[in-house]
């Protein structure tokens, strides 16, 4: 059963790859994503008698955090793929064979990544995810996009190589500690207290840097503005919502092992430091950012920082962090896709050229504005709830300085981001940027509206099943000491 969500998208990818028609292919992607969602729904809605599903001798396993991420990923991929036909229809000159196939492959590798319950296997899946997403960034086939792809690939690969070193350190920590372990996460956590502390610590640092590179924590984030800036909005969403969530899941699993070892304070401090550092870097670069897609990339860096802080604080903040992962991903969907539409309509993504989007593409611009308000933590949208949960948890756990800095940085981010967003949506379109025929269309707007509706929903009402799964996942990741 667990193989299905991996292989079905792969089969669909093959089908897309061998389809001749540029028009039909996107619909195969939609079908693949729908099938994937159906399978995931089946997996989540009908759990096998309460126990986690597992396969391959426990190497593949759908645990509580995995269920959250997997469910979220399937929604993300489904919505993004429904955006694809409308988007690709506007780019008839481009061959979308690789694009459509790779979206499906990415869906498969991210699923694989989520299901991997073995330290090594997870690494392999993560690297596969990197490789699957690289061609997507190169969709535009110009100098800028190739530069972005190159940077994405090289920095990501170097980072992930460090994560491999970290994983090896972790296994060596077991050897040094004199314990036999299978490198399955449960086993590792069980024997964590016996692991050699210095190796465990180094392992944590390396895996954090490694998966942090994929997540986009500063200062490993440098590929992000380039990749997100040059990739189509659709790909930006998948990267900022999907791939980062996978990397986040990896960090969640590793930190649990390290926390269960002797280094809870160490893990907490480093994660909070990284989180705050990422937020600060993002904030600094967002101020007076002219390129609104790069700005979104920095926003992603910021939110990865928030996730890191949430995990660092631990306890009740874990719940907030998991919820925030979902909120951030969905809101990024709103932002990247609407920004993509605005980019299309103006042929530019710089505020020097773009203004008055509310007049040119009213729906996309309004959604962009809503996305901005949501992502900066304004009620009544989802991120508000999760951010407040994290802050409150930080205060509860006595992290007053971190909580305070968190809020200060949120304020700076708001100023930085707001300046750019408002410059884009308000005012009058420039005379020298005449309308190029792109208008809001049902196929390119409807998925964004759904994203926005979900973001609003999560700010007003969290379904009982989601709530209980989140609690379960937070409990599974938390380490009671």
């Amino acid at each position: 059963m667990l193989y299905l969500p991996i292989f079905v998208p792969l089969i669909a990818a093959a089908a897309a790859f061998f389809t001749k028609s540029n028009r039909v292919r996107p619909w195969i992607a939609v079908a693949g994503a729908a099938a994937h969602s159906a399978i995931v729904y089946r997996l989540l809605a009908f759990p096998a008698g309460g126990a986690d599903l597992s396969a391959l001798g426990g190497w593949l396993r759908l645990d509580a955090p995995g269920r959250i991420v997997l469910g979220f990923l399937s929604v993300l991929f489904l919505l993004c793929s429904t955006y694809a036909p409308g988007y690709l229809a506007m780019r008839p000159e481009r061959d979308n064979r690789v694009f459509c196939a790779n979206i499906l492959v990415l869906s498969a590798t991210t699923t694989w990544m989520v299901l991997s319950y073995h330290l090594g296997l997870m690494w392999v899946a993560m690297e596969a995810t990197t490789l699957a997403s690289a061609p997507l960034i190169y969709f535009n086939r110009n100098q800028r996009s190739i530069e972005a792809t190159w940077k994405y690939l090289l920095i990501g690969s170097v980072g992930i190589a460090l994560a491999l070193l970290g994983s090896l350190f972790l296994s060596y920590a077991a050897i040094k500690g004199g314990v036999e372990t299978s490198l399955l996460f449960d086993d590792l956590t069980r024997v964590a207290s016996k692991l050699s502390a210095p190796w465990l610590r180094a392992a944590f640092v390396l895996t954090l840097i490694g998966y942090g590179t994929k997540m986009g924590l500063a200062p490993m984030h440098t590929w992000k503005p380039d990749a997100y800036g040059e990739a189509p909005g659709l790909v930006g969403t998948l990267l900022a919502g999907g791939v980062t969530s996978c990397a986040f899941l990896a960090i969640l699993r590793v930190q649990r092992v390290c926390r269960a070892g002797v280094e809870a304070g160490f893990v907490r401090d480093i994660l909070i430091f990284m989180g705050l550092f990422s937020m600060a870097v993002a904030a600094i670069f967002m101020v007076r950012q002219r390129d609104f897609k790069r700005m979104l990339a920095y926003s992603s860096v910021e939110h990865m920082g928030i996730l890191a802080i949430g995990v660092g604080v631990g306890g009740p903040a874990l719940y907030g962090a998991l919820l925030h992962m979902i909120n951030n991903g969905l809101t990024k969907g709103v932002l990247f896709l609407s920004a993509g539409n605005i980019h299309r309509a103006y042929g530019s993504k710089s505020t020097d050229q773009v203004s008055g989007a509310l007049k040119r593409t009213p729906l996309s611009a309004a959604l962009f504005l809503i996305g901005f308000l949501a992502i900066t933590g304004s009620p009544p949208f989802g991120p508000f709830v999760s951010e407040l949960t994290i802050v409150a948890a930080a205060f509860r756990r006595g992290e007053f300085v971190a909580g305070g800095l968190f809020l200060v940085l949120l304020a700076v981010v708001f100023i930085g981001m707001g300046g750019t967003v408002l410059a884009v949506v308000q005012g009058e379109p420039r005379e020298d940027r005449p309308p190029n025929g792109f208008r809001d269309h049902f196929t390119t707007a409807a998925p964004i509206v759904v994203f926005a509706a979900l973001v609003l929903l999560l700010g007003l009402y969290i379904p009982r099943t989601l709530e209980s799964s989140l609690r379960e996942a937070a409990a599974a990741l938390d380490v009671k000491r």
Binding site: G120, W123, V124, E127, A128, W150
Partner: protein
């Protein structure tokens, strides 16, 4: 056979310096390939025997690191007819000096690490750290895209050396997966280098800094 381990690792270290010191890209590729083959056979010299699984692994490693990947890179070079000089950011002597300092520090640092007794006297950890360091040097001090791929390979080699320590704990499937990923990664990088040279008519990274703040 374990007594051969340290000399071989010293050889690997020497190859690191070779990679930093030679000026033609083709030569660097060959150095890295040689190191790949060397590392590929290292498991044979570990404490205790390795089973059939180990032989398979050795074969795959040698095949990919020693022949597959270098062939890919050389193919990419031929395709794009790039100029064959390394074109470093800082001079070869300085690179070598940095590499030497790093290697020395790695040896000193490795002494302070809490190693299991059976590993305490081998060069595995220092060699691993030094190779990772060399990889980073290549990545940050060389201009050509292909040199960075080679740097990445060196980095990966360093990780691989460390993997020797944890070989028994690492499942075969993972090892193969890692190698496959590496190969695919380099394959994709090769394709991109191809596109870079087509778009920019050079693979020097100086041209690849359009995207910036």
């Amino acid at each position: 056979m374990a007594e051969w381990l340290d000399p071989l690792l010293i050889l690997a270290l020497a190859l690191n310096f070779g990679a930093l010191g030679v000026s033609r890209i083709r030569a660097v590729v060959n150095v890295v390939a040689a190191q790949g083959i060397l590392l590929g056979v290292l498991p044979l010299f570990l404490h205790g025997g390795i089973g059939i699984r180990g032989f398979l692994l050795v074969a795959t490693t040698v095949g990919l690191k020693g022949f597959g990947i270098p062939a890919l890179l050389l193919h990419a070079m031929r395709e794009v007819e790039i100029r064959h000089e390394v074109n470093p950011v800082i001079g070869f002597m300085s690179s070598l000096l940095l590499g030497a300092v790093g290697t020395g520090l790695a040896i000193v640092f490795a002494r302070t690490l809490p190693l299991a007794p059976e590993h305490a006297n081998t060069l595995i950890v220092p060699a691993s750290l030094a190779t990772v360091w060399t990889g980073f040097l290549m990545l940050t001090l060389r201009r050509k895209a292909i040199m960075q791929v080679l740097g990445y390979l060196l980095l990966e080699n360093g990780v691989f050396i460390f993997g020797l320590l944890a070989l028994e704990a690492t499942p075969f499937l993972v090892e193969v997966g890692v190698l496959l990923d590496l190969f695919t990664g380099v394959f994709v990088m090769g394709i991109i280098i191809h596109h870079i040279s087509r778009e920019f008519s050079s693979t020097s990274m100086d041209r690849l800094s359009e995207l910036k703040e």
